[in-house]
């Protein structure tokens, strides 16, 4: 790598003119073995692992907009595994492990950076729940510790230890917590998948799903009808709408999630910091900007508009945590729409329609699960519908038998 870099450095012309990352779009074929609806992180990751591990390459990814342009580009890029239930922790821990090797695997820098993630406790009950999360995480191979205010001060000297008159009593210090460039993750997977023969069709909207005898057999798009062996749905905020085309009702409600970012400043904040009581998380990106995020909007909506009241509330909490930030200027603000389940765990696996696989209910926790999600969905598709153990607890019918996987406490307040 350094030698080729040197060679290119001495050239006059741009060396990559004929070396584009993604192949030029082609016509849609009449038939694919697998059609993946949605060209975000999860969709392209599923295609990548299908091609890489299972040799299934007659695959089309159909994307309404452009590659990674939905929630893959809108999340705040937090990678962590310090959840509460053993099902959740096992799943997310494997995701973090996969993330660590991605840049090498792609030969493409995803800017993965292990910064550690710190969640603040302001009440005794929060400390009790953190203690439980520490034990569950350690048991499943994650690195998580409970730390005291003195250690928190040393980690984050700029933090106000008494934000909004709620003293910081302890912290859940997740050493594996990390961040990465979310776009690069989608690009890396897309590049790897298309190099192996997968077709990525952008600006291709699925308008209907063809179901015959309760079996998914194809899709109608704005570029014609495509027959297929099976369908994987990975469309984030639009899960209920796309599933409805196949006649499936989902245990999902769609909420907007708002975030924002400041102008870049000198590096001062290494870990990702969130407060369990203020419902706010703060992190500094590799470019020096500070990203703020919080809870979802208070009521459901299919709209990426922003509201002043939510932004005000979020900034008030952020300034309580880091008072000097009051002097910073905001650079951008945005929203994404998220498909929330009532137990804050995803809906993955089989659907009531044969050969139609669901990857939905990713709410506000989808980015961190991209690799494991792609890997397990690929396994599910390749085996013709044999659900891998790691995603079995997340099947949609858990709601019918009242066997929810409750991650609300570990998700809602701190992403």
């Amino acid at each position: 790598m350094p030698f080729s870099l040197l060679k290119y450095g001495l050239k006059n012309d741009y060396p990559f003119e004929n070396d584009v990352d993604l192949p030029v779009p082609t016509e849609l074929k009449k038939h694919y073995d697998v059609v993946i609806i949605g060209g975000g992180g999860h969709g392209v990751a599923t295609a990548y692992y299908l091609a890489k591990y299972h040799g299934i390459t007659n695959v089309a990814i159909l994307e309404k907009g452009y590659l990674g342009g939905g929630n893959t580009a809108r999340n705040t890029a937090v990678i962590r595994s310090n959840y509460l239930t053993s099902e959740g922790v096992k799943f997310y821990t494997e995701s973090v492990d996969l993330f660590k090797g991605l840049a090498n695997e792609f030969d493409f820098n995803i800017m993965y950076s292990t910064r550690g993630q710190l969640t603040l406790a302001h009440t005794d009950s929060a400390i009790r729940s953190f203690r439980q999360r520490t034990e569950v995480n350690t048991h499943f191979g994650g690195k998580t510790e409970l730390i005291d205010p003195q250690q928190i001060k040393e980690l984050v000297p700029t933090l106000n230890m008494n934000p909004a008159d709620m003293p910081v009593l302890a912290g859940l210090w997740h050493i594996d917590g990390a961040t990465a460039r979310h776009d690069a993750v989608a690009w890396g997977y897309a590049k790897g998948a298309t190099q192996r023969g997968v077709e990525l069709h952008q600006l291709t909207e699925v308008q209907d799903v063809i179901v015959e005898n309760n079996k998914a057999v194809g899709v109608k798009t704005n570029r014609g009808t495509v027959k297929c062996g099976c369908i994987v749905q990975a469309v984030a905020g639009h899960s209920s709408l796309v599933a409805a085309m196949a006649g499936i009702k989902m245990p999902i409600t769609t909420y907007p999630l708002q975030a924002m970012v400041t102008q870049p400043v000198k590096p001062f904040l290494d870990p990702l910091v969130s407060s369990s009581a203020l419902h706010c998380y703060v992190q500094q990106t590799g470019r020096g900007e500070i990203v703020f995020g919080g809870g979802s909007d208070p009521y459901p909506l299919y709209n990426t508009r922003s509201t002043l009241d939510l932004k005000e509330g979020l900034l008030a909490s952020a300034i309580e945590m880091f008072p000097f930030m009051a002097n910073l200027k905001l650079m951008r603000q945005w929203a994404g729409i998220t498909d929330m389940t009532s137990d804050y765990s995803p809906v993955m696996g089989l659907s009531p329609v044969e050969n139609y696989y669901l990857d939905a209910g990713w709410g506000t926790w989808g980015f961190k699960s991209t690799p494991i999600c792609g890997k397990s969905m690929a396994e599910l598709v390749a085996s013709g519908g044999k659900v891998p153990d790691i995603i079995a607890p997340f099947s949609m019918d858990r709601f019918d038998v009242f066997r929810q996987v409750n991650e609300m406490g570990a998700t809602a307040a701190s992403h």
């Binding site: 409600t253 769609t254 709601f399 019918d400």
Partner: protein, 103 residues
């Protein structure tokens, strides 16, 4: 701030209200299957259209119904639930066994 018209208190800030879910018909308790009950509790239409929803005005403790578009967020109508529910609902399931008071 967005304003919602409360049928009891008039126009109020949206932050005074709590969302209470889609208005959906409750299945017959004594005869419905577990699946039907699960669907009533956990599953939603969640589509883009005008929906009837339960809303709660928190300061005055008042539940009412709003018709709202789920993409434009336009609130078209708000009214008292008695316009939809004008008959008393009888719950005919067998009563839970009475537990002895702990001395």
């Amino acid at each position: 701030m967005k304003i919602m018209n409360c049928p009891l208190n008039g126009p109020r800030n949206i932050s005074e209200f709590v969302y209470g879910g889609e208005v959906k018909p409750m299945p017959e308790l004594s005869t419905c299957s577990d699946k039907e009950w699960a669907e009533y509790v956990f599953y939603y239409e969640n589509s883009i259209r005008i929906v009837k929803e339960w809303w709660f005005h928190s300061p005055s403790g008042y539940w009412f119904i709003a018709e709202r578009h789920t993409a434009s967020d336009d609130i078209l109508k708000t009214y008292d639930p008695s316009e939809l529910f004008n008959q008393r609902v009888e719950f005919e399931s067998s009563p839970a066994p009475v537990q002895e008071a702990i001395a």
